[in-house]
Amino acid sequence: MVSVAFINPLSDEGEIIVRELGDFGRVLSDNDDLMQIVTGSRSQEISDDSFIPRNYIDLAIKRIEWFVKKKNDRNFDNNQYEFLFNTEILKFDVIAFYLLCQAVGVKYGPNSRESRVMVESQGKLIEYRLEKLPKNIREELVTNILNSLISSTHIKWTFFEDLISTKKLKLQDLILDQGEIILDKDDFLERFSHKIHGRKPGKMYEALIGDRIKELVMIKMVMQNTENYILKVGEKSDREIEPNPILLELADKISDVLATSVRSYGIGGSYSGSVKASALNPKAFPPCVKKVMEGMKSGGRNDAIIMFLTPFISYARLYPSVFSENITKQISDIDPSLLIVQNEVLPLIFGAAERCTPPLFEDQPQDKVNLNAKLGFGMHQNPDLKNEGETIWYTPMSCEKVKIHLPSLCKPDENCKKIGNPLSYYNMMIWKVKKEAKTESATDNTE
């Protein structure tokens, strides 16, 4: 039987393992048991020493590395991390999990990139671990964990408020009836069988809910609990005087792993890695931006140009990696003389404003002031270095916000499924567009 803690380290079983560890100092010393399990894992690559974690801290780092590389590194080799899927690693894995959460909580808190990566990596790890288990064990495990996380069979959807709020779960993915989430098969059949015509209700249950939704709910709940745990650690450490130096060191190593991934793998998978600022390529604009660029024919032109387009164009041109770097900047940090703003950014925005019916800015000088404010240059007519910082440089609206504030703009295409912000769309596409252009010019010289 696979332990529940292999999937949910925050379970009672997991806590027992942590209590058994005893002396904290041991996490840094070489651990033969651990190395033995690692090297004995099926298909584990052992040709290089660096593939083998020697102690708890190493293992913790490997956990994060696996996730980051898997996402970003095109040469990623899962065989270097097979030990993560070996159930014998349980005890070590649980400790590594707690070390990571505590390091991140103490040093960065719950709203950091490090915390996000930790939570996401736990989710992904669970997914892959489950996949490698035989079907019956997997089902039993999921049911067990769910039962311990959810106490009653009648769960109101509001129970998942956190998950919905943080978009880990979409309301649409759940089957709701009279305010309750339907997870159980008998319950499903009782409620819906009589309504279903021409299809087998049992099969419909398996497809729409079945193990898929149960697993989804379970994974997302563990992720949410991980996030909550990091939050708790963070709050507690605010009250403590000296955080443990081992944790602080681990925290630094975690951000090293993230930084290396941004530097060396760039925009491979996460699309937002180290995209460099460069001339804009309108071909790579998302549908919503293309639409505003054509000029707004009806209502909302003000918001579309000032709130939506201005931040998008300025960040796409000057600081496309804002979300992955997560460092607040001013325009002059990148464009010290404001030449790019004057020659490339503003002309595009003004062009779009002129194409509106009626054109924006013509009759309302106040709008120009508002535009300037969004670039961080305060409430003035024109961008001027001496006013910079009076307002903040607005970051681009997320797709979510666009859908709410400017619903007519969002006409998602296939690529939109992979992103949550028009800027990420651009970063992803600019790379694709370039590649396409290259292959085109290589194969077709006649034009």
Binding site: W157, L171, Q178, K195, A207, K403, I404
Partner: protein
């Protein structure tokens, strides 16, 4: 009918007559009157927006005196509850609201400039659909409907939802209006099974089916759907009687599966404008006070007791309108 005389602005004298002779504090619904001291009020005295905000009334009587004396152009009250409403401080909760404004419905069968009987009726149908889903799917029951003068507000006061944040509210909006096309392929033990939304008679796919049905039945040859060209629109209109009888499979076949996908995609993205989502996610919004006068159109903002039978042109027209000279 003297239809032209409806829906025109009320003069200051008419406002005065309305508040002094016709209006009664009892018309303020209990769900507001009972929590009056926790809410913020706002007023528009001259018709330029609610600039007079942060008003608080400890009792309905004080509100009554204010309205009778000031006879404002418009009166509003917060969906939010505060411990200290005068400073909008110590927010405790907020109603969950959905605002369907007839003049902003993305597809209307009328071609009026602002609102008319036809689009008001369409707003009512949309609100009814939303309320059904609120009850049947989300299990919410403490719902009040208000005729706003130009459309409808659905105001939910169930304890389950009054504390939720904007992110959750925005997800609810998307669910209710059918803003996303549901999956149609599901994996089941290594095989893929496909269920179009219309064969699933429950959950979100069912909500989506209802909204698409409504939209398709209200399209006309001038409607504008993304990615749907004139020819496709024409085919939709020609075959939509099939949907009226719920023959979705046939309809999809007639249109062709790829083109069907275009149609539902177009409708999904349009659906987001069925309600004003900005209102729903705003935790401190002020909404027109039921019983007050909508002076722009000379209609009463009224709580609707029975939405099925409610007719704004009977129940929301102030007396002075009938006495206007032609």
């Amino acid at each position: 009918m003297v239809k032209i005389e409806y829906l025109t602005p009320a003069s200051p004298e008419e406002r005065k007559r309305y508040y002094r002779e016709e209006w009664d504090i009892k018309q303020v619904p209990d769900f507001i009157a009972h929590s009056i001291q926790e809410r913020e009020f706002g007023f528009d005295h001259v018709g330029r927006g609610p600039n007079d905000r942060y008003k608080v009334f400890r009792t309905p009587d004080l509100l009554k005196r204010f309205l009778k004396v000031r006879t404002p152009f418009a009166a509003y009250c917060s969906v939010a509850f505060y411990d200290k409403p005068r400073r909008r401080d110590k927010w405790t909760k907020a109603e969950l609201v959905f605002d369907v404004d007839a003049k902003d419905i993305p597809i209307r069968t009328c071609e009026c400039e602002s609102v008319c009987e036809i689009c008001l009726n369409e707003a009512k149908e949309i609100v009814c659909g939303i309320i059904d889903t609120l009850k049947e799917d989300l299990g919410l029951n403490n719902i009040h409907i208000v005729y706003s003068g130009r459309g409808y507000h659905a105001r939910v006061l169930d304890d389950d939802v009054t504390h939720i944040n904007s992110d959750v509210r925005s997800q609810i909006v998307k669910y209710l209006v059918g803003a996303e096309v549901p999956e149609n392929e599901y994996s089941l033990n290594y095989e893929k099974v496909s269920y179009e939304h219309f064969v699933i008679p429950f959950g979100y796919p069912n909500v989506f089916t209802e909204r698409v049905k409504y939209s398709i039945l209200h399209l006309n040859e001038h409607s504008n759907l993304d990615e749907v060209n004139k020819k496709l629109l024409k085919d939709v209109l020609k075959n939509r009687h099939l949907i009226e009888d719920n023959n979705w499979g046939l309809f999809k076949n007639k249109i062709g599966p790829l083109r069907y996908k275009k149609v539902v995609n177009g409708i999904a993205s349009m659906n987001m404008s069925l309600v004003d989502a900005k209102v729903s996610i705003d935790l401190k919004r002020i909404l027109r006070l039921p019983s007050s006068l909508h002076s722009m159109v000379s209609m009463k903002c009224t709580e609707v007791k029975n939405i099925e039978t409610f007719d704004p042109f009977k129940e929301a027209v102030p007396k002075f309108v009938y006495e206007r000279k032609e």
